[in-house]
C-alpha cells in the first residue's frame, strides 16, 4: 500500500459492499491498530476506546451495505470515528457538568488528525522489518546505531529507508496533486 491509500480502501469497501468476507477481514486488520491509536489519542481511556472502535466497525459495516460509490473510503472511516468520539464527549458532558471544554479543544485540528491516521495506516501496512527500522529511528537511534542493532551495514540501512520513502513519497505527491 502506498501513501495514497484512498483507492486501496475504496476497493476494500466496494468488495465489502458485495459481502466479501476476505475484504472485511483485510480492512479490519489494516485499520484496527491505527484506529485504536487514533481513538485512544483523543479519549485516553482504554475501555471507551475499545467500545468506540467496535462501534466504528459496526457502523461502517451497516453503512457500507447502503452505499454504492466510495469516492473517499478513508475519509468515510475517519468521519465515522470522529463522530463517535464527539458523540462520546457530548454524552459525557451531559452527564457531568464538570467536564471542561478544553478537553475537547485540546484535540488537534481535523486535517492534522486525518493525516495522522493516514500515516498510522501506512505504518501498519509496512513489513515487519520496515516497521522495526522506522521504530528505531522514532526512538532516537542514529543510522549507525540502527545498523549496529539490526546487524547490517550502514548502506543497507540507508537503502531500507530510501525504499520506504520512495514508496510513500510517490503516493503522497500523487495525493497532494489530486
Amino acid at each position: 500500500m502506498e501513501l495514497n491509500n484512498k483507492e486501496y480502501i475504496n476497493a476494500l469497501l466496494k468488495r465489502m459492499h458485495n459481502n466479501d468476507i476476505d475484504a472485511a477481514n483485510e480492512l479490519y486488520e489494516t485499520i484496527k491498530l491505527p484506529l485504536t491509536s487514533h481513538i485512544y489519542k483523543q479519549i485516553h481511556d482504554r475501555d471507551v476506546t475499545e467500545d468506540i472502535l467496535h462501534d466504528v466497525f459496526l457502523i461502517l459495516l451497516k453503512r457500507v451495505k447502503k452505499t454504492i460509490f466510495f469516492f473517499n473510503g478513508f475519509g468515510y472511516i475517519f468521519k465515522i470515528a470522529q463522530r463517535e468520539i464527539q458523540h462520546y464527549y457530548k454524552k459525557l458532558k451531559n452527564n457531568n457538568n464538570d467536564i471542561d471544554d478544553s478537553e475537547i479543544e485540546n484535540i488537534p485540528g481535523k486535517k492534522d488528525l486525518q493525516e495522522e491516521l493516514e500515516f498510522k495506516i501506512l505504518f501498519n501496512s509496512l513489513s515487519k522489518e520496515e516497521k522495526e527500522y522506522v521504530s528505531l529511528r522514532a526512538h532516537g537511534f542514529t543510522l549507525v546505531e540502527i545498523a549496529d542493532k539490526m546487524q547490517v551495514s550502514l548502506s543497507t540501512v540507508k537503502r531500507k529507508f530510501n525504499t520506504i520513502i520512495i514508496k510513500l513519497k510517490r503516493g503522497y505527491d500523487e495525493k497532494e496533486n489530486n
Binding site: 465489502m16 459481502n19 477481514n25 491498530l33 491505527p34 489519542k41 521504530s135
Partner: protein
Amino acid sequence: MKKKITENEILDKLGKACLEMENAPKFEDDSFKNKYISEISKNNARFFNRKLIFSLINSALALILIITSLVLFIPRDTKRYTDNDDEITKLTVTIDEFIESVPENFSYLIEINTDQINRLYVYKMQNNTMACLINYDDESYMFVTFTKNFLYSEQNLFNGENTNNTNTDKYNMYETFNEVKVGRKTYIDYYLWIETNTYDYYINIKKSTTDKQNLFKEKIFENI
C-alpha cells in the same frame, strides 16, 4: 504551488505514528472480529435470499410479459363476413371444388353467422355430396345435403319433415378465405355463404376434431 513533503518529514510522521501506536492499547481478543465477520456472513445469507426472491420475481414478471405479448401481439384474424364486405366474391360453380377439397372422413366445425342459425356442421358424404347439419337453436337441428347439381334436401331430424327443392336458380354461393396466424401456425379460415330458398347460410369453416362433432357425424349417418 503546494509544498512537497520532504523525506525527513515522511520519516518523522511515520515515526510519530509508530510511537503513538506503540502506546495505544492492544486488543488481542478476537471475539469482536468474529462477530464483525459473522455480520458479513449474515449479510451474505440475506443477500442470497434477496437475490433469490428478486430472481423469482423477475422470472414471474418476464413470464407475465411473455404471456401478455402473446395475447396482445399475435396476429389473429378476427375478420368475419358482413353484408358490406367487398372481399366476398361470388362463385360461379365452385361447389364441386369445395366438396372435392373436403378430405375423406373428416369433419369440420362450421359456424354460421346468421340470426336464425347457431351452427352448421358440414360433412363430406359419399357420391360427392356435402352434408350440413344445421343447428337452429340448442334443441332443433336441420339436416341439409347439397349435391353438385345444386339440388338440396332439408330434413328436420326431430319431426321428420322433408323438403326437397330443385329450383337451382335460387342457389347462390359466395366464398372467401382468410389466413389466420396463431403463433407460427397458419390456418385457413374459409367462409361460405349459401343462399337457398329457405335460408341464407353464412358458413365459416374451421378445422375441429372434437368428440361432439363425431357424435353429430354418427347421427347424420344414422339418418341418411
